[in-house]
Amino acid sequence: MGSYVLRRLLALIPTLLIASIIVFVTIRMIPGDVIDLMLSQNDIGADKRSREQLVQALGLDRSMPDQYFRWISAILQGDLGNSLWHSTPVLREVLNRLPVTFELGAMALVIGLLIALPIGVYSAMRQDTPGDLAARSFAILLLAVPSFWMGTMVMVFPSIWWGWSPEINYVKFSEDPWQNIKQMILPALVLGTSLSAVTMRMTRTMMLEVLRQDYIRTAWAKGLSERVVIMRHAVRNALIPVVTLIGLQAPLLIGGAVIIEQIFVLPGMGLMMLEAVNQRDYPVITGVFLVVGVTVMLINLLVDLTYGLLDPRVRHQ
């Protein structure tokens, strides 16, 4: 197990490098570079001289590889560069927004699992009964409504019917936990319920698979109670693809529940990315990517390690 962990950790590095190069280059391929944008903010025509001045001031006159290496070496010293527009350190800006996204993501994930797992298991156990049908219909319905629509309805209609709307003033959890939860709970619910739909169905499918397995039948035959059979054998193995799903949802949760953030006025990573791409703020984009990428890769690492825990057959490769 130990060597497995080590191998996976080392594998992160080339992945990160490949990923960083791809993003670094891709962003710069987008037409409409940052100089044009900055210059367009003014109302007087920019001549070549001012363009050059600006390019130099932003360090964009160096070649691409040169810029890339400067960026990488700065990162290794913990410096993610400064935003081209705000002149503030990217790292600081990212660290401000990360907790918002983490909190939203964690809450959504928990809510999603709380809804999905019991329903998924129940559905599999009582396959094709009205209960199963109802549960599946409910899940699919949740899936089928676009998140921005659910978010809009949750935001707008209570304000019309009861004169109430969710909190829009963001405070850190450490400063005022109650106010923080008040703002987060609704978006987390909306996000969580959409996630739960997919998870629920996967759970049900895999549970059904597992229930047919031979060792389950053996357990039945041995006379073990239903509950023990479920707990000890079936659930464990059905969890594998569910854990995969968590890994799959990580980028969404970390990198950009943009729509939810936009509707519920949450200053998270998703909105930051959107704004940065709009403004072609390269250091911010690449900095955010880096942080998100590292986080997601770590989560996926955990996912793979959990495979090893859950399915002994996987470990011994």
Binding site: P31, G32, Q41, N42, D43, S159, S165, I168, E275
Partner: protein
């Protein structure tokens, strides 16, 4: 009656009771201002976060973001507002009528000739508050003004030629600044006086890093106390602020509220909801399509409508065929049913003719019926004449052209197919090319935009409005309009000292440009501001400088009793 309706009924009753109580005896204006409370404001650009805290970044939004904290030499004289018996609405995005400019940090100023100079005497006793780690409390002095100007001038992001007319700026003594100019420039006070970039920022803040909001420190009525990027900017009261506000003849120490929060909310449905439930006290940029519903569901709100401070149009590249032929451009103008757009598309919430001069530009704006007939004809729906003109130009069979539009504007994405439908009737086909924001703007600045380009362009002020769009090679000139005569006339206008002569020159240039039709002129929409009645000393004024609402917001006060009685 559901719960919300009951609540509203109660609020209406409470409001009626309060108002009738207030009208007994003294008039509403004689209300004594209350101190305390918080104001949550959604400004005109509520979807945008602050761009920069450093004036040397030359960010157009600087005045809006920091206007409560950093002050300038001049600002609007709000006593000349309509609310106080004057005639100005203070809506223009970057213009102050010359009879409504007051000295903010300047106590007085006088102009001298040979060479053209302006001597500004600063107010005495204006203090920068103490900022731990940055500066001790101290008085504003002339050196601060000189320093601010020099820093701007030397910034790599400076707009070229912006200060070309300035020879030097010196501190004559502790409270006197002398500007020496190479020649007269009609925009001298706009460019460094009450403009976008004219904030006075102390050296200590620059040294500590002006780009970091934690270091920001100015002479204004409020101090920047918190900034959550993408969510809100919070300002706290500066107890040592120098100015007083006159209400009903009595001077009161300013400011009144304890906190002002500028909110950033990207989604329209969300910010309208925030207004509806009073999480926003003031919302400045409401689209006409949202007004009816808000009036129904939040009947307590007070409203102000104003013509949008941006012109909407489809620019046609006059350097490409067939738009180099004026008949074609005029024909397209006549082919679009603009009155119908005003009535049907905007539901009446638009003016037919509101650009390049804004209706509020007193002395510069001429109504359509004051314009020459040739210009008026461009705003009448006349598809037959359009076809005739096109035939004259050899295009009876019609033609097609590409039109770029920003996918970031839902209004424009709806408007363009409508315009296209009108043009189809005269055999002109539009190929609509939506572009994402960055790419869209960039097409214009690199002058690679398509033959057609639907955009909204801010009016700013009378001289800039024409200069930035119709002078050769300017950034905001998507039609690539170039007329050496016009360039000369523009240059002459800048040198003209007599304002009434300038007004005439600008009127003539405006008439000329409208007739030459480098754009398909489209109606200018009407925008709305709304606020809850407990917000006092305010009537929808929008700017007291170039995109600078700070002084207006700083004079507001909150009737907290009324707010509680209304259930908030």
């Amino acid at each position: 009656m559901n719960l919300s309706q009951s609540k509203q009924a109660l609020r209406s009753i409470a409001l009626a009771a309060l108002l009738s109580a207030a009208s007994l005896g003294a008039t509403a204006q004689a209300e004594k201002p209350q101190y305390g409370g918080t104001l949550n404001i959604g400004m005109v650009y509520v979807t945008l976060s602050p761009l920069s805290w450093d004036p040397a970044d030359w960010a157009w939004k600087f005045g809006q973001d920091t206007g409560l904290m950093y002050e300038q030499l001049f600002a609007a004289d709000l006593n000349k507002s309509i609310r106080k018996g004057g005639k100005h609405a203070f809506v223009a995005d970057s213009w102050l009528p010359s009879d409504a400019i007051r000295g903010e940090l300047a106590e007085s100023w006088k102009t001298m000739d040979n060479p053209f100079r302006v001597e500004v005497k600063l107010r005495k006793g204006v203090m920068f508050p103490e900022k731990p780690g940055v500066m001790k409390a101290r008085e504003l002095v002339a050196d601060d003004v000189v320093y601010s100007f020099t820093r701007l001038d030397k910034s790599p992001k400076k707009i070229p030629t912006y200060f070309d007319h300035v020879d030097k700026v010196e501190a004559k003594d502790k409270h006197t600044v002398l500007f020496t100019f190479k020649n007269y420039n009609a925009e001298w006070d706009y460019r460094f006086g009450w403009g976008y970039y004219s904030a006075i920022v102390p050296k200590e803040v620059s040294d500590a890093g002006a780009g970091n909001w934690k270091n920001a420190n100015g002479t204004g009525p409020f101090m920047l106390s918190d900034y959550v990027q993408g969510n809100a900017v919070t300002f706290s009261k500066n107890n040592q602020y120098w100015d007083k506000e006159q209400i009903a003849g009595q001077p009161y120490k300013m400011p009144f509220v304890d906190k002002i929060v500028y909110r950033t909310i990207k989604d329209e449905a969300s910010y309208l909801t925030a207004l509806r439930t009073a999480k926003l006290d003031v919302l400045e940029g409401i689209r006409w399509s949202a007004v009816e519903e808000l009036k129904k569901n939040a009947p307590g709100l007070k409203w102000k409508r104003s013509v949008d401070t941006g012109g909407t149009f489809v620019a046609m590249r006059v350097d490409t065929k067939p738009f180099d032929d004026i008949r074609v451009r005029q024909a397209l103008n006549m082919a679009v049913n603009k009155p119908e757009i005003v009535q049907q598309y905007y539901g009446g919430n638009a003016v037919l003719f509101g650009y390049p001069m804004h209706p509020d530009y007193a002395g510069y704006y001429e109504t359509l019926d004051q314009m020459p007939v040739a210009a008026q004809d461009l705003f009448k729906y006349n598809p037959d004449k359009a076809k005739a003109l096109l035939a004259e130009a050899g295009l009876a069979k019609g033609f097609s052209f590409k039109v770029q539009v920003c996918s970031c504007s839902p209004d424009h994405m709806d408007l363009l197919p409508l315009v296209a439908a009108y043009l189809e009737k005269v055999n002109v086909k539009m190929e609509i090319q939506p572009m994402e924001y960055g790419a869209f703007l960039s097409a214009m600045t690199t002058k690679t935009n398509a033959a057609g380009y639907l955009m909204r362009n801010g009016h700013t002020n009378p001289t800039t409005s024409i200069r930035k769009s119709f002078v050769t090679k300017q950034t905001w000139n998507p039609s690539q309009y170039s007329d050496p005569e016009m360039d000369k006339r523009m240059a002459a206008t800048y040198l003209e000292r007599d304002e009434s002569k300038r007004q005439l020159l600008i009127k003539l240039m405006t008439r000329d440009i409208v007739e030459k039709a480098p754009y398909i002129w489209l109606p200018t929409p009407i925008g709305y501001s709304a606020w809850w009645p407990w917000v006092k000393n305010y009537d929808g004024e929008l700017r007291a400088g170039s995109e600078r609402p700070g002084p207006i917001h700083a004079r507001m006060w909150v009737d907290q009793t009324m707010k509680k009685k209304m259930g908030f």
